[in-house]
């Protein structure tokens, strides 16, 4: 395993160790164990219902797995509330866009700065003074994200009125505004045409290279996954069936069987 510069891997940033999750009698995940290394793009692939999104939900604290541990920079995440996990520097986007529909793009991105700001009800309500200074300082950070994602022209638009592709981009922006150390992207390219996909892939590579952010990516488009990711984890029926570089995974017979089906003799 190697990062894109070919150097040997440093210590893992996130260690996922024996995660098991079930809903009633249905086992969504069992014994998932793999590492995520700093500043890499880690893809998670697998057929529909394999447990990819459940895995992300465990990391971001929306689900509480019954077995196993998730350690992020040495700290166990299991049992922490989602907002505490966000404060540690883990951001995510959702498979079905979960933006704040009635707010403007700028307000959505400013919410991404929430964890870095301090203002409460009183400083907000009195506003002039410390409240305004803080808002302006963080507005500058938000404008940098707007520049990076090329969404200047829509910054004052209500998110609900934007096209699907732009909403996906704003959602990535909201996660980026958090300045995360780990960014979880759940199908950021689903439902996009090839041009939009290309743009999105370019943004993801930019983020990875310029900000050295670790990215965990769930994606169905194998072309994109094989092109941009450093490591790939393959899930099927809640189990990890393969892990490795894109080339290794592509050659793995279990993966081929999972995707193309198996010949029964």
């Amino acid at each position: 395993m190697a990062d894109r510069n070919g150097a040997s891997m440093p210590e893992a940033q996130m260690q996922i160790d024996g995660i098991g999750l079930s809903f009633g009698g249905v086992r969504a995940l069992s014994g998932i164990t793999f590492n995520i290394y700093p500043s890499t793009i880690q893809a998670i692939i697998g057929p529909n219902g394999a447990g990819k999104t459940s895995m992300l939900n465990c990391i971001s604290g929306l689900y509480k797995p019954q077995q196993g541990q998730i350690r992020f920079e040495g700290r166990n995440l299991i049992g922490l509330a989602p907002h505490e996990i966000a404060q540690l520097g883990i951001a995510r986007s959702f498979q079905n866009i979960e933006l704040f529909r009635h707010m403007t793009v700028v307000d959505n991105l400013m919410l991404g700065r929430h964890v870095h700001m301090r203002g409460g009800v009183l400083t907000g309500g009195l506003y002039w003074g410390p409240g305004q200074r803080e808002e302006i300082a963080h507005r500058e950070a938000v404008e940098q994200v707007i520049d990076l994602l090329e969404i200047q022209s829509i910054r004052k638009k209500t998110v609900g009125s934007l096209s699907y592709g732009l909403q996906k981009r704003v959602e990535l922006g909201r996660a980026l505004a958090m300045n995360p150390r780990l960014l979880l992207l759940d199908e950021p390219m689903a439902g996009m045409n090839s041009e939009e996909k290309e743009d999105m892939a370019r943004f993801i590579l930019d983020i990875s290279e310029e900000q050295r952010t670790t990215i965990v990516l769930i994606e169905h488009d194998m072309g994109v996954v094989m092109d941009i990711s450093d490591n790939v984890a393959v899930l099927e029926f809640g189990q990890l069936i393969a892990y490795g570089t894109p080339a290794e995974v592509k050659a793995n017979p279990a993966v081929v069987a999972a995707y193309l089906g198996q010949e029964h003799s």
């Binding site: 704040f100 009635h102 907000g124 506003y127 409240g131 507005r139």
Partner: protein
Amino acid sequence: MQSGTFHSTYAGDMALRPYWPMRIRIILIIAILLLFPWFGNRYWLNLANTIGIAAIGAIGLNVLVGFTGQISIGHAGFMAVGAYTTGLLAAHAGLPMWISIPIACIVAAGIGAIFGMPSVRLKGLYLAIATLAAQEIIIWFLTKGDKFVQMATGDRRVVFFGESLSIPPAANSLFGFALKGNNDFNFYWVIMTCLVLTVLFVSNLFRSRAGRAMVAIRDQDIAAQVIGVDLFKYKLLAFATSSFIAGLAGALMAHYRGIISWERFTIDVSILYLSMIIIGGLGSVSGSIYGAAFMTILPALLSNVSRAASGFMPAFANYLPYIQQGAFGLAIVLFLIFEPEGIVKMWRNLKDYFRLWPFSY
């Protein structure tokens, strides 16, 4: 026609009134507010004061329902907490209102936060029913409170709450200056100052961090959690802020009317406030004011019309009160059908029409 406005600073871009027509309008409104009491008679002043108090209460409810998305039908209960706290402090401790009203607001905020705790687990209609409990418990306490005091003191003659509570006129003083003479005129200034401060506070709140977090909870609570918003904390803060403002409205009403009883804070009043913000516009400060004005003026207007009608149609005189109530209900229904987003949306449509005129297609 306006082609665009260009801001060169973030502060300018984030201003409450970023465009000059808005600033002119706000100056006009303030001028009218300042001039009105010198020309209005007692009837008009009373109406303006009633609207002012209702507007403060409606803004408070909108913080919770319109901005944070937590339905509450216990709003009148929180207003009662404010009214009775200041009433008891004025009647039994002899405190002037500039001390007792802030205390009343803080007590209302605390009670509101306590009754907001179910919001952690409950959403939507289920939360509405839980806030109904707040409404009923508070009113129950106000009607039965004297029994507890009598049991505690062992003295059956102690009367704390009574059937109604009179506030000594001496309590109506600001920073040592007694408000004497024309009650409507004096309270006009107190109420409008409170209304302007409430409007400023709430508008500022919802363009900064804490308010944004509350709106995020309304729009998408799961995403709000994942970007680091502590749901419990901000829901309770919304309840506390909303109840603080409700307490202010209740306390002002107590001092203005001079007498309070629990009958002014029943569930009908909670529902009246809900209809104010729905008709005015959910999640809008100005909408709360429009809604409060509409719901106060319409019944007054209808009763004037019916009084005039009873002159030349004496046969109908007996039925007029019912027709009046029916017309009130009909007006609300028509409103919800033709402009479900409230008066604030109608006003916006009107502005857009003139801004784009003559190219309004």
